[in-house]
């Protein structure tokens, strides 16, 4: 993608839509910052280029004219990123091109914007090292599976636990029994106090 500063020729702005274009500018600015493009100059340059392309699109594509400019701007910036990454990232093993998410992950994994702050979306300033780093794009959360079967062995808990277990299950199924027991305990306590105070 050719993004040299010389190629910018700002479009004639319609003052009635200035606010809309301002929103689009802010959106692209925020998006580029979220992409860790930390240089103000770089962001301003890219922003102007993106908006210019959006403007061209609104002029040439009737379907785009009805859409909000900020949406078109984000679509444009993401399309530019995908196109730019397409130069450096090999396609998947199944032949399909990588999607934008996979490309973004590749940038993230090699810390691209931090290590090469002026190379983002700029094919002219793309260091070979960056291009190479982008190709190591896979993140592996775990090693290859080596599946084992881990199942509990039969365990005879003994007669008492089995009986208590089944009693507890009935107990849980009938909450009235719980309440009854609580009252019995309370009555027992009263009985004890009666006996103790005689």
């Amino acid at each position: 993608m050719d993004l040299s500063l010389e190629s910018i020729s700002l479009p004639p702005w319609d003052p009635a839509r200035a606010e809309e274009w301002n929103d689009a500018y802010e959106k692209v600015e925020n998006y580029l910052r979220a992409c860790r493009v930390s240089s103000h100059l770089q962001r301003a340059r890219l922003n102007a280029l993106i908006l210019q392309r959006v403007y061209d699109r609104t002029q040439s594509d009737a379907s785009a004219a009805g859409l909000p400019v900020s949406e078109l701007a984000i679509v444009e910036v993401r399309a530019r990123i995908a196109e730019w990454l397409g130069h450096y990232l090999p396609p998947r093993a199944d032949g399909h091109p990588l999607n934008l998410g996979e490309g973004m992950l590749a940038i993230y994994l090699c810390d691209g914007p931090t290590r090469w702050p002026y190379a983002f979306l700029d094919s002219y300033r793309m260091p070979a090292e960056y291009a190479e780093a982008l190709s190591a794009r896979v993140v592996r959360a775990g090693p290859d599976l080596a599946v084992s079967s881990m199942v509990p062995r039969d365990m005879d808990l003994g007669l008492m636990p089995e009986l208590v277990g089944s009693a507890m299950e009935s107990f849980e199924a009938l909450p009235i029994l719980k309440t009854l027991l609580a009252w019995l305990l309370f009555l027992g306590l009263l009985g004890f106090l009666f006996w103790y105070t005689r």
């Binding site: 993230y108 959360a141 599946v147 881990m150 005879d156 299950e169």
Partner: protein
């Protein structure tokens, strides 16, 4: 990535079975002897012309209560002599091969860090320290780290993912540090470990199970593997984790106790249990193959709500022993660390979890095939919690009995009957002697442990000098005595709730700048204070002398609020440190990896956090807003199947609410459901950026500006 290619080291056979039986007979004979004599004395005191119902109940309660005191005493005395001789023939570390370990000698070992909504910075900085230590020792090629997350907090989940990627990038650790998030945390920690075993267990001969706050030195890890290699019959090797990073007075006291008193209890424990040791759930190495084959936890009978073991460790040790593999405690290995709870309320919370877990072990007491010693371990675990309500009941009965005697104007208590007639002392004097003997048995282990410190010049220096060690011992003993009744009430409440099958919640603490959460302290301790006052009043009304007898208990309860606040007050902890009190060896000579971790944590915590309103949903904001984090999160989700129409509609509805009303419009389950769905997360990210501002909720508009402007770059636990 590590694979198991090494050859076995020649085996040094250890067969301690015969000796361990002899030791067990000797040890438990001592315990039974002490308990029997004390019970006889107690019976003699109570039997003044027969036993009433109350007296019989008191005598019955006395036996397990004194039994536990005798057990601790005997263990400490035995441990004291073992440490005095400076060697134990049947200690597992004696089988360590000579020389430093080489990477080629070590088989593949996985280090597992199961986490559940933990402080991510602490977990990852600990991991970083261990990773660097292993790298510096040239051993990293034989160890892989697995972060096994069961976190249910959406923000923690994202923080963990981001932190993991950043950590791997910084350490070049991809392929050695792995992250696994379970979407449904079945069976909690044990289920998490089992999940690892089922997926990757076969790749590793050993796994070292760590806690979120665990730290282990490279040398220790290598030696553990070496010991396992030298002892093929050993299934689990447990280290004795040493506390570190204590800041509050309570944590500092516990840390001091851990270093000063811990060794004699551990040596005594190893003396009688030898190859029948226990697993404490973390800082231990496990032989993976037998663990997979034999240690899957059985389901529990009874209610489905509590149908899984919460305290899995004791059960796994018992199952390992049932499969004829040994379980050892390597108490002299060192280089194994953990953190301590900072406040009394945190201690109570931890105990509440352990209490529930230990009581579940009662199902296994009569299970077929378990060794008697494992039944004993399980019983002691239960009894350690049951003792609190038993002690409470004993005191209530004692109070009732005393009142009964006062009302009835019984004078026979002081009469020379039974043993006291031969000794020419009354029942009152005999009771006083028994009381003092019990106190001595509770105190003597600490005295012996302090003596061991005082007798060794190096140790004395490590504890800040002889005088300071003694002052620390006295102060610790005093505070422990005051805390004991409060912890007894906490535990009694936990036991009661466990027996009723109910949950107790205290909620999280909100500490002020000085580390004190007054509302939580007042909520937790007001009833202790009230109970202490009422008990003191009743005791005084019964008899002034009885008031003085019960004062050690009632005073602790009465002072519980200031005590809890003081012991959780960090500046006081620092003041004690400046005085040189509760000084411990890792403070005198801090291990390199601990210093390294603390330095990094300081850097992490010095960073400006996002504003409060954003912090609450920061992870959600990150994963939705940030193109990189969204991409990373989606790549870690492995959902490939096509969703049904109702599911798709459900996710669309949630996404709409998230964007137009903000994250607060969704509950935790809904947020987690969205975060688990890869398609939804990609779509939400896309829509958030494309949507005109007027359609977005105010929260997102603010978040977009703050995310970029205030935090500059996404907040990770690492920040470098």
């Amino acid at each position: 990535m590590t694979t198991d290619t090494s050859n076995q080291i020649p085996v040094q056979v250890v067969n301690p079975a015969r000796h361990s039986s002899r030791r067990q007979v000797l040890f438990f004979s001592c315990v039974v002897f002490l308990t029997s004599v004390a019970t006889w004395l107690m019976a003699d005191i109570l039997w003044r012309g027969g036993l009433t119902g109350l007296e019989t109940a008191m005598l019955i309660l006395f036996v397990p209560l004194f039994g536990m005191v005798a057990l601790g005493f005997a263990q400490a005395v035995v441990g004291f002599f073992v440490l005095l001789r400076r060697r134990d023939k049947y200690e597992i570390t004696a089988t360590l091969p000579d020389g430093e370990p080489f990477a080629e000698q070590l088989p593949a070992t996985a280090l597992l860090i199961p986490i559940y909504n933990e402080d991510v910075s602490r977990v990852y900085e600990g991991l970083r320290s261990m990773y660097l230590a292993l790298t510096n020792a040239g051993l990293i090629s034989r160890f892989d780290f697995f972060i096994l997350s069961d976190s249910t907090d959406p923000n923690k989940w994202i923080e963990e993912e981001v932190g993991w990627i950043d950590l791997c990038k910084q350490l070049k650790g991809f392929g050695h540090i792995f992250y696994r998030k379970r979407h449904i945390p079945i069976n909690r920690k044990s289920g998490n470990i089992s999940d690892f075993c089922r997926r990757w267990g076969k790749r590793y001969r050993y796994m070292v199970v760590l806690d979120a706050d665990s730290l282990m030195e490279a040398k220790t890890l290598a030696r553990m593997v070496q010991i396992m290699e030298a002892n093929p019959q050993t299934g689990i090797l447990q280290t004795a984790p040493q506390p570190i990073q204590a800041q509050t007075p309570l944590a500092r006291m516990l840390q001091f106790a851990g270093y000063c008193y811990g060794p004699i209890f551990q040596a005594g424990l190893n003396y009688w249990q030898s190859n029948n040791g226990n697993f404490w759930g973390h800082n231990a190495i496990i032989r993976t193959a037998p663990f997979i084959e034999h240690c899957a936890l059985p389901a529990l009978p009874g209610s489905s709500k509590h149908s899984r073991f919460m305290s899995h460790d004791y059960v796994e040790a018992a199952l390992m022993r049932r499969a004829n593999y040994e379980v050892w405690l390597a108490y002299t290995l060192g280089g194994s660390f953990e953190n301590l709870p900072p406040t009394m309320i945190d201690c109570a919370k931890r105990d509440r979890r352990w209490c529930r877990g230990n009581f579940q072990h009662s199902w296994l007491l009569m299970a077929q095939g378990l060794l008697p010693i494992n039944r004993l371990h399980l019983s002691l675990g239960i009894l350690s919690y049951l003792c609190s309500p038993l002690w409470l009941a004993f005191m209530i009965l004692g109070m009732l009995q005393f009142r009964h005697d006062v009302v009835a104007q019984k004078t026979s208590f002081d009469a020379d009957i039974g043993l006291s007639s031969y000794l020419d002392i009354g029942g009152g004097r005999l009771a006083l002697y028994l009381f003092l003997a019990t106190l001595a048995m509770l105190t003597l282990p600490k005295v012996l442990a302090t003596l061991l410190v005082l007798c060794d010049r190096e140790k004395r220096r490590a504890f800040g000098g002889g005088t300071k060690a003694v002052v620390s011992f006295v102060t610790e003993h005093l505070f422990s005595a005051l805390m004991a009744p409060v912890l007894m009430l906490f535990t009694s409440l936990s036991v009661t709730f466990v027996l009723l099958g109910r949950e107790i919640t205290w909620g999280s603490q909100r500490r002020d700048a000085e580390g004190i959460d007054w509302p939580a302290i007042l909520r937790a301790h007001t009833w202790h204070t009230a109970l202490g006052l009422i008990a003191a009043e009743i005791a005084y009304r019964i008899h002034p002398a009885f008031f003085w007898w019960t004062l050690p208990v009632t005073l602790g309860l009465f002072l519980s609020i200031p005590l809890s606040a003081l012991l959780g007050y960090e500046p006081f902890g620092r003041f004690l440190n400046r005085l040189g009190l509760f000084r411990t060896p890792p403070e005198t000579e801090p291990p390199l990896m601990v210093t390294h971790m603390e330095k990094n944590l300081e850097v992490c915590r010095s960073q400006l956090p996002p504003p409060e309103w954003l912090r609450k949903y920061y992870g959600v904001a990150q994963v939705t807003l940030d193109p990189y984090i969204n991409a990373a999160h989606v790549s870690l989700l492995h959902v490939k199947r096509k969703l049904s129409y109702p599911s798709t509609a459900y996710f669309q509805k949630l996404s709409e609410r998230l964007l137009t009303q903000g994250p607060a419009a969704l509950n935790r389950r809904e947020l987690l459901a969205l975060l688990r769905n890869a398609d939804s997360m990609s779509a939400i990210h896309d829509r958030l950026w494309k949507m005109p501002d007027r359609q977005l909720s105010d929260w997102w508009k603010m978040a977009m500006r703050h995310y970029n402007a205030l935090t500059g770059r996404p907040r990770t636990p690492l920040y470098r």
